[in-house]
């Protein structure tokens, strides 16, 4: 089974969680995801996720000149985003608990 299919469902929540810690930007988010072990999700997925989060008001974006020169977008979480993250965490726990029972209960018996 392709790992990326599983990751697509949780990527928004993970990105929101990273942004909730401090104001951050694209490269930093990618590095943090890499450091946590998500290496292959970058293709075509991160920037649309950031755009979707911004469009529905979960994050806000400000542009500033980066230390390297080009204009950089810095993302920070909004109050509705905090609520969304809280709800996501509850939903994630429920889903993973249920899935764990289905996948591993027979094995444990």
């Amino acid at each position: 089974m392709d790992e990326s299919q599983l990751l697509k469902g949780i990527l928004e929540g993970c990105v929101l969680a990273i942004i909730s810690r401090k104001e951050t930007y694209g490269y930093d988010i990618i590095m943090q995801l890499n450091n946590y072990g998500f290496h292959n999700i970058i293709e075509g997925t991160l920037y649309p996720v950031l755009t979707r989060l911004e469009k529905r008001g979960a994050v806000k974006c400000r542009k500033a000149k980066s230390p390297l020169g080009p204009v950089r977008k810095y993302y920070s979480i909004t109050p509705p985003g905090e609520t969304e993250l809280k709800e996501f965490r509850i939903l994630y726990e429920n889903v993973t608990d249920t899935a764990r029972h289905i996948l591993f209960d027979e094995l444990e018996d």
């Binding site: 694209g26 490269y27 950031l50 755009t51 204009v71």
Partner: protein
Amino acid sequence: MKREITYEDYAKKLTGEYKDAYDKIFVYIKSALSIGDEISPAMNEVVDLLLAAQEDERPVEDVIGNDMESFCEGMVKSNRRSFVYRTLLFMSLYVFIAVLVGGVQICILLYHVFTDEPGAQNPLFTGVDFVGFLSGMLVAFAILGILDLVVKFLVMKIKGFNKKVYSAIYWVAFIGIGSLTVFLISIADFEITIPRIFVIIFCVLYAAGVTIFAKIYRKKYMPQEEEVPPVEIDFADDLFNEVITVMRKRYQKKMEKRAKKGLPELAPLFWYEKEMKKEKIAGIFTNLFLVIIIATAIIEVAQDSEVIDTMIFVIILLALEIPIMYAMNSGTRKRKELYRIMKEKKVDFMSDELYRKVE
């Protein structure tokens, strides 16, 4: 004269695999974005990402992934504008033409008001072949739109086009097709004249209407983003550095040709002196040619018109010609300045210390 530093300036700092990735991504995104979409927001992000990876010495795959096409598609999706916004942006491009056409018609109107004999036809209602011109523009643009799609399809397929080739195809097609279409319409005698007053009203309403509507739309539907103040550099310094880069490339090409023929390499300053002499002679012939062209035009006008018409024509011609000539000669002035600095400081133009700092 100032100009804004763009992502293309920062992209020059990329090297090796990062530069290769940038070149491929640029071609893809440029081809994939539609008319009205802006490439700058996407490319600023890409350049920033690649510069950060280069600084941290991380492989390109770490920031872009293994599938560059998917990464590019993601960037394009994130930066695609809404259909309404793109349409408005496209219509805004023609505001300048509407102002120009309206302005020219108003000038012609005023000219006739002050010079026509009593009893002549009211200049407000003199027919203008505006519809032929407008039809030509619309048809040319429709054909250009189809060509734009075809070129983008070919670029995606071949993926070998670089930015200069793409731009050249676009401008040749725009000028070629536009001119051909207007020419064909004029041959076909497709003339539907409408009164000048309606042309002026149409141009004013178009220019004002599109501008106001675009402003309202942006204010209401576009997110209010904090504008980043542009970083500016002096155009003169930028042009100076560009001249150094161009002259280096020309010198290297010339020496490669000489080496193939078994000829000895020329000292950079000696070669540069010879180039300046050739340029001086070419400049004399160019200026002479332009003087002949302008004089011919003035004589033609003077033969058919009154003195006042000729004077107005000469003033307009000089008002347009002088800034164009000044701009065209800016490269020549910078090359002379470079030559003077090289002689004074006894510096070879292959040396990096000649470059003026651009931050």
